[in-house]
Structure formats: structure tokens, C-alpha cells
């Protein structure tokens, strides 16, 4: 394994959000000023994650809702201040998340130009590759309509096409592909394979466990902001599924006991 080259090294990363907690309001609550009665709290979303991502690998991230997966990804783009730990990358990872519209008011075609130029691709090249990109996006006439009118699948197709116009060192995909249909899943998988072959790394968050089993080389399971398991995707997914089952059984047993046992 000594020949694997790291694309990103994360060490003991902690990330938290500052948030106002809004306690249950009584009648008096409605007459209070806006910040009175609001408690400021910290949501400790990522709690000591250490992880190395290697060139040429696809890494899957699974875990319950709210376990800190998206937070970890956003932190990796450097767009969020981190509390402690360190985060070193080959180049700033490109994040693809569901619902990201570049410029909602302009057409898909204009968005391709704007996105391409922002990525530093020459206008001549963007124009030259326009047909190929539009073919990849494959949303018909919608390409000339404002992006805000797009369905979530159409938006994700366009977003994916733009983010991969120049091959990124590290591509982070936060559930952006789940809204795509079968045809697009196949196309985007081809693109991902291409990036991985070109020594890029791709990190995918997904709640679709079969996808993680099939399409990733390695997986991690996030649980309450920590990595609960790391390794072969099949093993990690199995461990996660087993925990979910156990949890449900435990819950059912508790409910049953509570329900049948009189005070």
C-alpha cells in the first residue's frame, strides 16, 4: 500500500455550528424581543475525524441523517471555519451538492459558459465543447430556459456537467446524483471513473447502500460526528445495516415493554 499517494489528509477534525435554540414559547414568549429567550448553543457536528483520501480512489460515506456527513464535506472545501484539527489537500476540493444553481435567472447554456469561465477554462474551449456538454446534460430544450425552472434531476445533471468540465483533483458529491435517473447515473458513473483514472479522488455521500457497495473502493460510516467504521465497502455497509437493525429491535422491545407493563 506504500505506493498510494494521498490527495487529502484530515487529522482530528472538529467542526461545529453556532446556532440559536428556540425553546418552546408560551404566551409571554411572543411578546419578547427577538433575541431574548433564545439560547446560543454549539452543534458539534464533526467530532474528531481522521481520514486520508488517496489519488485514484472512490470513497463512500454512509450514516444516519444528521451524523455529520455533509458538514465534513463542506469543511473539506474550506468554506467553513474549523474548530481544531488539520486539513491538508492537493487542491481545494470541488463540492457538488443537490440544489446548487449557479445563476438561477439565466439559461442552462449561459450557466455552462459562466461556470466554465469561472473554472478558468478559455471561452473558445467552452464554446467548442458546448455541444458535447449539452449532449451529456441531455435535458432537451430546457437547456435554454432559466435554471430556476429546472427539476431537481435536471439541475443536478447541469451542475454535475459544469463541475466536471475540467477534471478536479478531488470531487465531493453530496447526494447530488440520487435525484438522477438510471441513464444519468450511468453517464455520471463513467465521468467519475474517468476522474479516478486520471488520478483524481471522488468522495460520495449516499443513502443508497447498493450504490456504495458497487461503486466505491472504500467506505466510511459516520455516527454522531465520528467515524464508526472504515474499510471495505461491503463490510462497512454490513456493519451499518446490522446496527440499524439492532437499533430497531431494541426500540421495538422497549416499546413493547412500555406498552404491556402496567405502572
Amino acid at each position: 500500500m506504500s505506493d498510494r499517494i494521498p490527495a487529502a489528509i484530515i487529522e482530528d477534525l472538529h467542526v461545529s455550528y453556532r446556532a440559536y435554540e428556540d425553546p418552546k414559547r408560551n404566551l409571554r414568549g411572543f411578546t419578547m424581543k427577538r433575541h431574548e429567550g433564545l439560547r446560543q448553543t454549539r452543534v458539534h457536528a464533526v467530532r474528531g475525524v481522521s481520514l486520508t483520501i488517496y489519488e485514484g480512489e472512490t470513497l463512500g460515506i454512509i450514516g444516519a441523517n444528521g451524523s455529520g456527513k455533509s458538514t465534513l464535506m463542506v469543511a473539506m472545501t474550506g468554506l467553513m471555519p474549523i474548530d481544531s484539527g488539520s486539513l491538508r489537500v492537493r487542491s481545494r476540493p470541488r463540492l457538488l451538492s443537490v440544489n446548487a444553481a449557479l445563476r438561477p435567472a439565466v439559461s442552462g447554456r449561459r450557466n455552462i459558459i459562466i461556470g466554465g469561465l469561472a473554472l478558468g477554462i478559455a471561452l473558445a474551449e467552452v464554446t467548442e465543447r458546448m455541444d458535447e456538454i449539452i449532449d451529456f446534460v441531455n435535458i432537451g430544450e430546457a437547456i435554454d430556459r432559466p435554471m430556476r425552472t429546472y427539476s431537481s434531476g435536471q439541475r443536478s445533471r447541469l451542475g454535475f456537467a459544469i463541475a466536471t468540465m475540467s477534471p478536479p483533483d478531488i470531487l465531493l458529491v453530496d447526494e447530488a446524483l440520487v435525484v438522477g435517473d438510471e441513464e444519468f447515473k450511468a453517464r455520471s458513473q463513467e465521468k467519475i471513473d474517468e476522474i479516478v483514472k486520471g488520478a483524481g479522488a471522488v468522495v460520495i455521500i449516499s443513502h443508497s447502500l447498493p450504490d456504495i457497495r458497487e461503486n466505491t473502493d472504500r467506505a466510511i460510516w459516520m455516527h454522531h460526528g465520528e467515524i464508526a467504521a472504515e474499510g471495505d465497502p461491503n463490510e462497512v455497509v454490513d456493519a451499518y445495516v446490522a446496527m440499524v437493525h439492532e437499533d430497531r429491535e431494541e426500540r421495538a422491545r422497549r416499546d413493547h415493554e412500555n406498552g404491556s407493563a402496567p405502572e
Binding site: 506504500s2 494521498p6 489528509i9 468554506l79 486539513l87 489537500v89 492537493r90 439565466v106 461556470g115 469561472a118
Partner: protein, 278 residues
């Protein structure tokens, strides 16, 4: 597990302020964006109106007309100046250019939140593009300006040749204002509300409608006025176009702001580079 030291060495830590040299090189690599995108934004601006792009010409004409009626005819603040209309035209149009830059830039980061979240690029590209957009939209207004000056009876002389150069210096000041405005507006959202009132204040402190030196006798106080870059721009532009008096302090201010503001603005903007979009 063994990791090759060499490969680990070229990983970079995120969240740090990027080195200015690299940042500027990165920006320069995106120069096409700063031309193509603003140009198109200007082009489509009035597409949904009947007169379309003609508005870029009609707007400055109407603006001149409104100010002329209010300050030239109704209030008559000319105090017997030779060519008050010419004086007013230069003031109103150039003041509008820089104030639009301020107004636009405080909203620039919010406007392109989607782009920031979708693609990686040096964020200064956004305020710079906003300034370039305003500059492009000013080209028709500059045409109106020159034609209108001729109509007021102004005779072009050698000093008119300095006008494009003066516009360029104003552009540099605008870049600085744009960078500062963009970060400030991002940090304090309320600024987009406050800024229009600030601009209204600036309007009166910049001598758009009256000649400051005719009202302010005290030379120390005049120096104080020169601290306002908007006033400096108008003094120099009026010297070039309508034989305005060339005052020392505003001229110094004009060049000082053009060199200091873009550099300081860039540093100030880049300090928050990794926070934009959050």
C-alpha cells in the same frame, strides 16, 4: 502504512489566506470571465422592456433632465456660473457611475451565492466583474455626456484628451470601492439597506450640484472635502471637460485613492476569501 514524504509535502492547508501573488495569478487566469460575463449582463439588462438597449442612452438623458429642472431651474444653485448645465452633467453622470459600483458591490457576494457554492474560483472575480459591468454600461452614458456638453456650448480643448485617462483612474478607484464594498456587504447584510442613504449623503458632500469651493471658504475644510474620493473624481473630471478649477488637494486625493484603494481593497477582500458563500 508508509506515505511518500515527497507527495505529502505538496498538500496545502485550507482556510489560510492565500499568497497574494498566487491569488492574483489565479485571477488573471480568469480574465475572460471578467469581460464576457459582465458584457452579457449589460446586454440582457433591459431585454424585457420595449426600448431594450436604448435605455442605456435614454437613462442618462433623463437623469440630466431631472437634475437640470430641479437644481438648474427650480432651485437655481448655479450662482452665476458660466456653464452650470455642463458642470451638472459631468457631476451627475460620473457620481452615478461610482455610486452604482458601491451599490452593486455590497450585494455582489449575495447575488452570486449559487456560483460560489458550485464552482471554485478566486472570489474577487465577482466584485471586479461588477465594476466592469458598471463601466461597460457607462460607455453609452459617456457618449451622451460628451454630446450633451457640446450642446451646452462647451468647446472641446486639449484637456478633453485627458478624459479617457481620468475615467481609467476612476475605474481603479471603483475597483477598490468594489472590493471593500463586497466584503463589507457580505459581512453585514444590513449594509445593502444603509448604503443607499450613505450614497445620498455622499451626493451632497461631493459637490455634484454645486461647486464646493464657492461655498467653502476655509482652506482647511476644503482639505477635508478632498478625503472624499467622489469629490476628487468630480474636480478632476470637471477640470478636463468644463474648465473647472484644478485644486491641489483633490488632485492628490484622486491619484492617492487610485493607488491605495485597489491594493488595500484586495487585501481586505481576500482576508475573508474562504468565508464567502457560507
Amino acid at each position: 502504512m508508509l506515505i511518500d514524504d515527497h507527495s505529502e509535502a505538496d498538500l496545502v492547508t485550507l482556510g489560510h489566506v492565500p499568497a497574494m501573488r498566487d491569488y492574483l495569478a489565479d485571477l488573471w487566469g480568469r480574465r475572460e470571465f471578467a469581460v464576457v460575463v459582465p458584457f452579457n449582463d449589460v446586454r440582457v439588462q433591459n431585454m424585457n422592456t420595449k426600448l431594450g438597449p436604448l435605455w442605456h442612452v435614454i437613462n442618462p438623458i433623463m437623469q440630466i433632465a431631472v437634475y437640470w429642472i430641479i437644481f438648474g431651474v427650480v432651485l437655481d444653485v448655479s450662482r452665476g456660473m458660466d456653464n452650470y448645465l455642463g458642470f451638472l452633467i459631468v457631476g451627475v453622470l460620473l457620481f452615478t457611475l461610482s455610486s452604482r459600483v458601491l451599490l452593486d458591490s455590497v450585494r455582489a457576494m449575495e447575488r452570486d451565492e449559487g456560483l460560489i457554492r458550485s464552482v471554485q474560483f478566486p472570489r474577487a472575480l465577482l466584485p471586479i466583474s461588477a465594476v466592469i459591468e458598471q463601466t461597460m454600461a457607462f460607455v453609452p452614458a459617456a457618449g451622451v455626456l460628451l454630446v450633451a456638453l457640446l450642446l451646452t456650448g462647451e468647446v472641446p480643448d486639449v484637456s478633453w484628451l485627458a478624459f479617457p485617462f481620468i475615467l481609467f483612474i476612476q475605474f481603479l478607484i471603483n475597483i477598490g470601492l468594489g472590493l471593500v464594498g463586497a466584503r463589507a456587504g457580505f459581512a453585514v447584510r444590513d449594509l445593502s439597506q444603509i448604503i443607499s442613504h450613505v450614497i445620498r449623503m455622499l451626493f451632497y458632500f461631493s459637490g455634484v450640484i454645486f461647486e464646493v469651493s464657492r461655498y467653502v471658504e476655509d482652506p482647511a475644510l476644503l482639505k477635508f472635502f478632498a478625503l472624499n474620493p467622489f469629490y476628487d473624481i468630480l474636480v478632476v473630471a470637471r477640470w478636463s471637460l468644463v474648465n473647472g478649477e484644478l485644486l491641489v488637494w483633490p488632485v492628490l486625493g484622486f491619484f492617492a485613492y487610485a493607488t491605495i484603494l485597489p491594493a488595500v481593497g484586495m487585501r481586505f477582500f481576500v482576508k475573508a476569501e474562504h468565508r464567502y458563500g457560507g
